[in-house]
Amino acid sequence: MENNEKELQVKALKNGTVIDHIPSDILFKVVSLLQLDSVKNQITIGNNLTSKRMGKKGIIKISDRYYEEEEISRIALIAPDAKINIIRNFEVIEKKVLSLPDSFTGIVKCPNPKCITNNEPMKTKFEVIKKNPVVLRCPYCEREIQQEDIQLL
């Protein structure tokens, strides 16, 4: 039964990207990280689905959309265990493993209100200290940021 359901979830998409195994409580953070609210493609979002491994999980299916490595790897900031499936003609043609770069610009806000990045018109920048769970470091105020404290810009 569960197998059928799973197949159905994936097969329901003809072409596009499936993001699976998203922790339910951050599903909508992933939605905003990928700015899906301004995307015209067909999007199916499922949340609080039963998962053997996670208890509850979320899933996002985006039709006819393929992401650049750099764009999709951002998800690893908040959901390092999420799985990405690339679908063409109902087949999973590629499974992507999320991996954060060693450093990146923008995307995240430094949580320190006294940080220069929150007071000057400039881009934020972060070093990735640990990948799972994620620990970032702001090179300006030198604070470390734990995964649960990550705020997206």
Partner: protein, 303 residues
Amino acid sequence: MSSKSIVSITDYSKDQILSILDSAATFEANPNQTLLNGKVAATLFFEPSTRTRLSFETAVNRLGGRVIGFSDASTSSSVKGETLNDTIKMVSNYADIIIMRHHLEGAARYASEVTSVPIINAGDGSNQHPSQTILDLYSIRKTQGRLDNIKIAMVGDLKYGRTVHSLLIALNHFSPQFYFIAPDELRMPEEYKIICDEKGIPYEEQTEFDTDIINEVDILYMTRVQKERFTDQMEYEKVKNVYTLRNKMLEQSKDNLRILHPLPRVNEIDMDVDANPKAYYFEQARNGLYARQAMICNALGLI
């Protein structure tokens, strides 16, 4: 050598620290030189700090350089809403080096990214103040004859005190042994203990400031316990005298013990300690001049 900014002690390797300390020693031997003849240093104090500014300006003057700048943001354009980026770019047209203090954390790092003129961080909020760390290291080496294997007790506000955090990071190059003595509310943050654990640096932590530890160590590093750090004022009243060093507590201490303090002190070192030859905090402040001369010349690639 090329010019480079000095923003954070964490950017420096052991060898770079030692080389700055060596040149500080040459400035102590001969503080008046002409290395900065024809050079202009800008001291931009967006946040006032007379003590630090005078020390830096003296360092420039004794090396024959000239100083421009401001000592208070209310006299500068930043109150008119000018961005830090614009102020730094404007001053870069005039100065060979920029020494800056700012209340925002990371301001000096950002400034160093928007100009090719070397920046020296003279304090960015509660983040970094590398010249204090260099002068602390210089004082330790000068009084102990070495930096390796120093037993050091840090006393007072270990939570918010940036000087103890930077000193801890820098000393970790030299196999120290730490004693952290602080009230519960102001304990050394976990992240610094993790740094010690990762490097296998031993430390002990306790709330009582007693002679057992004073008699054990080479350096007693005292810090201010500030009233405004306490959420509970009763708690402050309780601890403020517990972390005060008095002369009689030094009776059984080691001969080589020296007492350091970043100054200004409030009441954490009783005046009766001042006459003790182990009190080193005023000389320590003077060492700041040589440390800053060395840092300025290092940033300009002159040494």
